[in-house]
């Protein structure tokens, strides 16, 4: 849920990175953090286990430029991808303005991708959102790996509604900002339509 502050002239929006365990959600945020200049970002918070698996969420506040005299701020969150953290995942989705689904391109993770996507839909529904109606993009991550599935197969399985989608390698950063820009753009367009 966006927060429009007429007093401080700011718009705040919440974007959530969703996807199966180890698909690279945290890596996306780390790359964005590392490549953003200091005045445009706040501290990145990672609530993680000792083995660096996300336990509750990662949080990265970004401040883009101004739009019609309002400073635009995006709060990026990741969810914990491991199946048994579902209760936490659900909590993070509360008040979301836009969703990035990060898929793991490796063939052996296809089932996990599908399961996570179904889980996303279910959890959104519980908050009263419809995945087909909110700003939403898909990222096929880990394209650099030799065991990654062909793109058209991924598209068919994970993006039947053909929302904007991107190939990525979050470690090298390829496709990371394209994904972010696309979802941010959809969120702002939604704001414009005043829904």
């Amino acid at each position: 849920m966006s927060f429009i502050n007429y007093s401080s002239r700011e718009i705040n929006c919440k974007i959530v990175y969703y996807g199966p365990g180890l698909c690279g959600k945290t890596t996306n945020l780390q790359y964005i953090y590392n490549k953003t200049n200091p005045q445009a970002k706040g501290k990145m918070i990672s609530l993680a286990t000792e083995t660096e698996r996300t336990l509750f969420f990662d949080f990265l506040p970004l401040s883009l430029g101004e739009i019609r005299g309002f400073r635009t701020r995006f709060h990026l969150y990741t969810v914990p991808g491991q199946v048994f953290y579902d209760a936490s995942r659900k909590l993070i989705l509360k008040g979301v303005d836009g969703v990035v689904f990060v898929a793991d391109s490796q063939i052996e993770r296809m089932e996990a991708n599908i399961e996570s996507l179904e889980n996303l839909r279910t959890n959104l529904t519980e908050h009263g959102y419809d995945l087909d109606k909110i700003p939403y993009v898909v990222q096929y991550n880990k394209r650099d790996l030799p065991n990654s599935a062909p793109l058209d197969e991924l598209k068919k399985l994970l993006n039947p509604t053909t929302v904007p989608d991107f190939e990525a390698c979050a470690v090298s950063g390829e496709g990371v900002f394209d994904t972010l820009k696309a979802v941010a753009k959809l969120v702002l367009q939604e704001l414009k339509s005043g829904r």
Partner: protein, 164 residues
């Protein structure tokens, strides 16, 4: 959709700031701030210069969300007050009208009893202001179009944001 987002206007912002400013003094607190349940900072007063208020807001909301989840599992509606005791600073967190989180940071210049007492009174006042704010936002949303400054956003405006 899950309803409109939160909106804050100048008038209500000043009222809210005045209330929490007073709470800082009345409760002998170091810092008082208000966060919406989604983790957006609404207002902060007191010794905030060296505080990372954005991080505080996000973690507070996460904390309330997790505690709310626990409450549900136990069949409670919500735990409306949380208290964290530190060696130097303490944290008193309370829910205002189901939507907003009020956080008071205090040290041994104050006490839990005093903070509780002052928060209770101030909470009612804040709930009133937020009710009024919600009504106003709903009325504006339902009213004549074109009031929103964002109705005029162009694709170019959006593209400009991402120009390095």
């Amino acid at each position: 959709m899950a309803g409109p987002g939160m909106v804050m206007y100048e008038e209500e912002f000043h009222k809210i700031s005045a209330v929490i400013d007073k709470l800082v003094k009345d409760a002998n607190a170091k810092v008082v701030f208000l966060v919406d349940k989604n983790g957006q900072m609404i207002a902060a007063c007191g010794e905030v210069e060296n505080l990372d208020t954005t991080s505080l807001a996000s973690l507070t909301a996460g904390n309330i969300a997790a505690t709310g989840g626990l409450a549900k599992l136990l069949g409670e509606k919500e735990f409306s007050i949380l208290f964290h005791e530190g060696e130097r600073d303490n944290l008193h967190i309370s829910l205002i009208g189901q939507r907003v989180i009020l956080v008071v940071i205090f040290d041994d210049r104050s006490s839990l009893g005093l903070v509780r007492l002052r928060v209770k009174k101030c909470g009612e006042e804040l709930a009133g202001i937020f009710d009024q704010l919600m009504k106003k936002a709903e009325a504006e949303a339902a009213g004549v179009g074109g009031v929103s400054p964002f109705a005029e956003i162009t694709d170019e405006d959006i593209d400009n944001l991402f120009r390095e």
